[in-house]
Symmetry: D2
Subunit: 304 residues, 4 copies
């Protein structure tokens, strides 16, 4: 199969889906992203790289950073991490407080906002500046030493961050945050505002397709078992309250972000990054989902 | 790898977990099952069969029947089925009414009780006697023309079935049941009380590992895409509110039942059935989960 | 103060509120009631009676029956009743199942549907035919031996009664109903479909304004303390999820019904019945609330 | 009736209830209050004052301050206040976030914590330093120019105030707070930590029994209608999730605080303050409820 031709063909198929969704508008810095953009990049374990459309345009990775933070922290914290956060799908929007109250301050999983804050808190315990730690890893794996948080976006997130502040204070009231709310939020917002292109994202995520080891740098980031675990959490919790829909249509571990990016993993084969800023009602990229659906259907590649 | 030796070894490893859980006791007919039993059976796509322990002792498949009913009904109803039931993980106990109210009578997925009732209602529309239809399929695939519902259990389920009656009436109040509540419940309780052994169950589930086609009878029950879909729903919703835990530890599509049975699928390779009647707090077999965890860890077989 | 002139004047003030609400349409028998009707009746402890508009037109008392059933059952059951039903305001719609699940089958109060079913179940334990018992009381106090349930409405309620059946089965699953679901529903639907006029209703409710004793028949239905208790439950729970609004604007114990009726009590002084079939979004009579608001504001009569 | 003898007798009756509850322990400053204290004070509209036990010992009024803040703010804001907060009973614990999310940041009523924060925010808009405004009023009405917040308690509240911070940030995320979270919390914590004795509290609350006018200072704080409204909100929402229980047993508008104080109002007659620090599971003073229950039962004074 000619993957380059395939993804270009898929791009043509999904472009008509422009304007079926809306660019995230909860902060001005995201709302101003030109909506008609679509990038697709693949990196295979044997070193092949494919890309089309805006595959080299950097975008705000937002919640995709949570997958990397989970890997980073799981590596350091091991199973102890799960005393602070669960690993069950949520069934509620990513920033809901309801479940957090019923579950006494232990977030349902690492990919809802509260869970990501809890993971960040653990990361701070291990690394101090957890944001710099994440950045160093991504720069190394993506092969771009210039990767950085977009400070305008981070500032905008903070300015409109009352709901995340509520989540953090609420967890702290249950004793489930060790560090000051302000610090945790600061790292969290900076992680979310890291800008990467599809091509960089596919490279950085390749270790998840390779049982925890980076084929590029040779580093073993996670054990084989941990890599399986992160992929499992991505599949069951990675796309907000559409995890069932993604599993059903795409059949791959996927982590999405409200910047419009999606990182998908085919264990043993390749990593895939797609990006298009317009989101559906559940916060996932409209064209991204359509593209991944077509890709797995046409290639027959799926974990199921 | 010698699978027969492996499963016998795993059996020895998990027997010490006896009495860490409790046999389902909501109906007398289940409560009286001798607790210290453990069966394990594997059927591979190339026709090999392995079994150990009580692999040939029939047990009540209970909610595992929901996976077969989903396949049966999806085949007949196609995508229209999803107007009556969702496909997102629930995060709530399998018999909760809360979510059903918030979601206006459309159950979250086909594997919570309300969802299975909705699927049964659709099956009745297509097949009339949906229970007989299911039984015919299972007899054929399991190679046992004597398979049948345990009438004592079915009667006991009905006698203690007020919560399921509540779910059914509630859905009917939203217009999401076409057939009388009594009929739907009758089929549902009979499906749940079908008795099968691990060996039979592994055989009957083999089509899910083979892209929808039975290697035994040659029948194509589901399209390749539908088989992927059923597996996806099993992974995200198949083990009550422990789907995340199963994905994390086992990494396979699994459907469990309160009879203590588990059906797991390794796409492209094999089907696995495990049974042990003692359940953990979330309704899944204690020894069953331990056995599957060890099996995937030691073989490295997982979809992730 | 000339009460007759006052209520006629209030009637003129509230007639412009016609068509700001909608007649209950969940059953055809209620939906067909001519919407532009308004009745107002007062009965004082010293035997004066005032009425205007359609004060003599019978209507379906619906949930107002729950206040009488509570009195009837409290008289027989005493404090033991509160093991089966709570007495806290609900904050949820009257037919919600959510709270019932969180509270393990004990309804929040006697005036949500689940609570009224629990009270009916207790009444059956004491009286056998609880509907006839209620009817006998109302006939006696209203001075109309012809009072009866409207069988067409009772049948229509039953036909569309899946949600109430769900509530009853759900409570039964928790062991909080002693009698068969069918029996409890039958009594409940018949109680709701009793037809009374405002004038009859005001008479029948007079004992609540008179510390439990009927000034008409001399019967002491409730102790002084129990009468206070029923009034308290009416104030905090009597108007669905608008109890706070009624307390704030009207300041009296009130029980409403989706037939458009309202029974209000001024302890030590009088009982008031208002009726107009068009309901607001929370199920209370639009003109009824406006009339009671004006009545208490202009007379200065309020319990606060 | 000899009220002085009565309250002394009631005191003897309720002292055996010591140690059936627990002193609030969420902050050290409250946890250290000697538990075996009971004060009872009455102030009648005709100027009589009665007291017994520790009626002159100051305690932390905590949430009782919310009743005064509501009066203060309703006076300034009028009906516009209700755009920011509802007036329906909650049915949930006073510091729950669940309802706040379902109701999009508009707290259910002014007496749950979120509602009191919203009222404080409005008070700041009108008065600037809303705490000083409240203090001036209380000093004037209580006849004690030395009334003040206990700074140790205010500091302790703040230090353990993550849940209130969560509520405030959450409301701010919905645009339902105009002032900085820090400011609102600061005023709120200071209001809660005001120390008053039963005798002072009964005096300060007398205007609620007198249709909004203080018999002592002659000031008309609220219109007759507003006084009725505040009393109504106290009755339906004033005692956390025990409002139904209080209405049923006591039958008066009551506002409670976790310091163990209770302020009750008998419109047209008197105000009552009771205090005893040990609380029941719902946060109300054990001896306080027992005393008020006995008082209304023995005097026959109740609004019902």
């Amino acid at each position: 199969m000619n993957l380059q031709a395939l993804i270009e063909d898929i791009r043509q198929q999904v472009l008509p889906f422009y304007d079926r969704g809306q660019v995230a508008d909860y902060i001005p810095a995201l709302a101003s992203v030109p909506p008609h953009q679509f990038g697709f990049a693949i990196h295979t374990l044997d070193g092949q790289e494919y890309g089309c459309g805006e595959a080299d345009v950097p975008f705000s990775i937002q919640s995709i950073s949570k997958a990397f933070m989970l890997a980073l922290t799981l590596q350091a914290d091991g199973e102890a991490l799960w005393r602070h956060v669960g690993k069950e799908p949520s069934g509620n929007p990513f920033n809901s407080l309801v479940q957090l109250e019923y579950e006494h301050g232990i977030p349902r999983n690492p990919f809802i906002n509260a869970g990501a804050l809890a993971v960040t808190d653990r990361a701070i315990s291990h690394f101090g500046d957890s944001h710099l730690q994440l950045l160093a890893w991504l720069r190394n794996e993506a092969g771009n030493p210039g990767l950085a948080a977009d400070e305008a976006i981070a500032a905008s997130e903070r300015e409109h961050g009352d709901r995340n502040a509520a989540l953090a204070h609420f967890m702290k009231s249950y004793g489930n945050l060790d560090h000051p709310v302000e610090t945790v939020l600061d790292h969290y917002f900076h992680n979310c505002s890291i800008a990467m292109s599809c091509r960089e994202l596919a490279r950085a995520g390749l270790f998840l397709a390779n049982h925890g080891a980076s084929p590029q740098t040779g580093r073993q980031y996670l054990t084989r078992s941990q890599a399986k675990q992160v992929n499992a959490v991505m599949l069951t919790c990675g796309t907000y309250d559409a995890a069932g829909e993604f599993a059903y249509r795409v059949g791959l571990p996927v982590k999405s972000g409200v910047g419009g990016g999606l990182l998908a993993v085919i264990p043993g084969k390749m990593s895939i990054a797609v990006w298009s800023p317009q989101l559906d009602a559940r916060g996932n990229s409209v064209l991204g989902l359509e593209a991944l659906d077509r890709f797995t259907t046409r290639t027959g590649l799926s974990i199921f």
